[in-house]
């Protein structure tokens, strides 16, 4: 592997995402290990000024075109694949976020190279790369070696500290030509903001969060009562929103909110990576899940491997008893 290490800088709504700096920190280690330069690849329209914060890279490749104003995977993947065909990078790091997910899926296919997805860490080993990836909703992890001259790696947020990838250095910016204007087959009409008026779960000190293990909307009362006893609000993981138990404004995780309450009580949540990234920085995490192997116990401080329908009422009673005392 001799080509550069590429980090796809994620820009959305006028800002570079924090995860970009995490990937730059990881990319720096890989580039040094491989003896290759670290390059950030930034796409946009009149967004060159965003390159200024990418000084952790040896240089920034910037592709400017009106069609690149929004990070649409269909367009971005064609442009990045064309740039890669010319520059022959050895590694392309793409963040696993909702913004970049389509790009991550399309890019390896368009480049005709290998993808290693759900990476939680990547190391240089014996002149090549070895990635650690989580699978099956966080229940297993694998160590993998990608074959071939180039690999695209999908990297989960939290791989390094973002601050390690920030730099005040002014990076060299190289304007990359946009090979061909992508066909306008996919068009962003506009963004819709989440409905206001509901509880803002990012502002709560205590969250009682429910997942599939709650089993039914009828049991939501239990979570509400526990939240009330603790002076907090109810939130949920993806399944709780998919099943219509809670509005989307209460969703914690990749598509929802990043929360950092003092106390996070996870009821019947398995702890898939998409959920964990939204709550892992909570002050105290207590998880109740009847599956003792649930990945939520890898991130929680305290765990209870029992039926939440038995534990929760007992806890509510105990809290009320103490309050009354």
């Amino acid at each position: 592997m001799s080509g550069a290490v590429w980090v796809l800088a994620e820009q959305w709504r006028g800002a570079v995402s924090d995860v970009t700096y995490e990937l730059l920190a990881l990319g720096r280690q890989l580039a040094d290990g491989l003896g290759a330069p670290l390059e950030a690849v930034l796409l946009g329209s009149e967004a060159r000024e965003l390159a200024a914060s990418l000084g952790a890279a040896d240089r920034v490749l910037y592709a400017d075109h009106p069609s690149l104003v929004e990070p649409v995977g269909e367009h971005y993947s064609r442009v990045v694949a064309a740039l890669a065909a010319e520059a022959q990078p050895s590694v392309v790091l793409v963040p696993i976020t909702n913004v970049s997910w389509d790009l991550l899926g399309l890019l390896p296919v368009r480049m005709g190279v290998v993808l290693a997805n759900f990476c939680t860490d990547v190391q240089v080993a014996e002149g090549g790369l070895e990635a650690r990836c989580v699978l099956f909703g966080g229940k297993m992890e694998v160590r993998v070696v990608p074959r071939g001259e180039t690999a695209v790696l999908g990297v989960l947020p939290g791989v390094r500290a973002a601050d390690e990838g920030r730099s005040t250095r002014e990076p060299e910016v190289v304007e990359a030509g946009v090979p061909a204007a992508p066909a306008g087959t996919v068009r962003l009409v506009g963004y819709e903001e989440p409905e206001a008026g509901d509880v803002d779960i990012t502002q709560q000190e205590v969250l009682v969060s429910v997942g599939r293990g709650l089993q039914g909307e009828a049991n939501l009362d239990l979570a509400e009562e526990l939240a009330e006893a603790l002076g907090g609000a109810v939130a949920g993981s993806r399944p709780a929103i998919d099943m219509g138990w809670l509005p989307v404004t209460r969703q914690v995780g990749k598509s929802g909110m990043q929360v950092k309450p003092r106390l996070y009580v996870a009821l019947g949540i398995s702890g898939a990576p998409e959920h964990v990234e939204g709550m892992k920085n909570s002050g105290l995490i207590i998880a109740v899940n009847s599956d003792p192997d649930a990945p939520i116990f890898d991130v929680a401080h305290y765990g209870v491997a029992e039926d939440l329908l038995e534990v929760t009422p007992a806890l509510i009673d105990k809290l009320r008893e103490q309050k009354g005392a």
Partner: protein, 258 residues
């Protein structure tokens, strides 16, 4: 309008997963497979579009244990035609599965062209590829994923709602034909009584189609599979429920949280 729905089976993670003797794959002996949850939403979204626009819905899945149940259930829910790709090696990776589907689908009689391909935008075993993007590229049509609502205009355009972080949605137009990766249907997948599934098993038919090509080997060498190694797992609280509740209250009190 014709809609093709791509389904695949994945391990049920509610069950205990064991590593096989090779130390680098799942022990398939005790594995229970279920439909990829996002694919089930893709099917539901297709059925919603069928009700709205009188579409024909065709579901296709590579063969796997329990897949017949999933396909009969799809028929019972309202799919017009269900296909099973046979001659598929067990335990194929996502990329190989997607290549197989993309290579086989064009050879199925009276299937293509379709107006819309719906599939889940991700699966829990997507280590080396995502089905939707790969099929889109092979069919030469556009892709958009993480979609939670789809409608179709008569002019050959789909309007989809795509999820962004923080609850923000992006409204997209996408020229048809296209592949749309579904995160969630507009409504939860419909319940279908077991009697209806049984009826589909008697009156309905799963069409078997032979896989068009041998699956490509994965581009990844898996050195090891194991349970995640974490720095510090949760301290487990045990006892009867009252003891557990008391201990939690103690912990909360120590931290000034009650």
């Amino acid at each position: 309008m014709k809609i093709l729905v791509l389904l695949k089976m994945v391990p049920d993670v509610v069950e205990e997963l064991e590593v096989a003797d090779d130390g680098a794959s799942l022990d398939r002996g005790f594995l229970r497979l279920i439909i990829n949850e996002r694919d089930e939403h893709a099917l539901e979204q297709a059925l919603i579009l069928k009700e709205r626009h009188e579409a024909t819905v065709v579901a296709v899945a590579p063969e796997a244990p329990e897949v017949d149940d999933v396909l009969y259930t799809a028929l019972a829910r309202g799919a017009d035609r269900v296909l099973k790709i046979t001659g598929v090696e067990e335990g194929l990776g996502s990329r190989a599965t997607a290549e197989l589907v993309a290579a086989t689908v064009p050879a199925v009689p009276d299937l293509l062209p379709v107006d819309l391909v719906l599939t889940g935008c991700q699966a829990i075993d997507d280590l080396d590829g995502l089905v939707g993007p790969l099929v889109a590229e092979r069919l030469g049509i556009p892709y958009v994923g993480i979609v939670t609502g789809v409608d179709v205009d008569p002019g050959g355009v789909a309007r989809v709602s795509r999820e962004y972080p923080g609850g923000v949605r992006g409204a997209f137009e996408i020229d048809l034909p296209a592949v749309v990766g579904v995160q969630g249907a507009e409504k939860p997948p419909r319940y279908v009584p077991i009697a209806k599934v049984r009826a589909a098993m008697t009156s309905g038919q799963i069409e078997s189609v032979a896989a068009a090509a041998a699956a490509e080997p994965s581009g990844l060498d898996v050195l090891e599979m194991r349970r995640p190694v974490v720095a510090e797992r949760a301290e487990m609280i045990t006892g009867d429920v009252d003891e557990i509740a008391a201990r939690i209250c103690e912990i909360l009190a120590e931290r000034g949280l009650v």
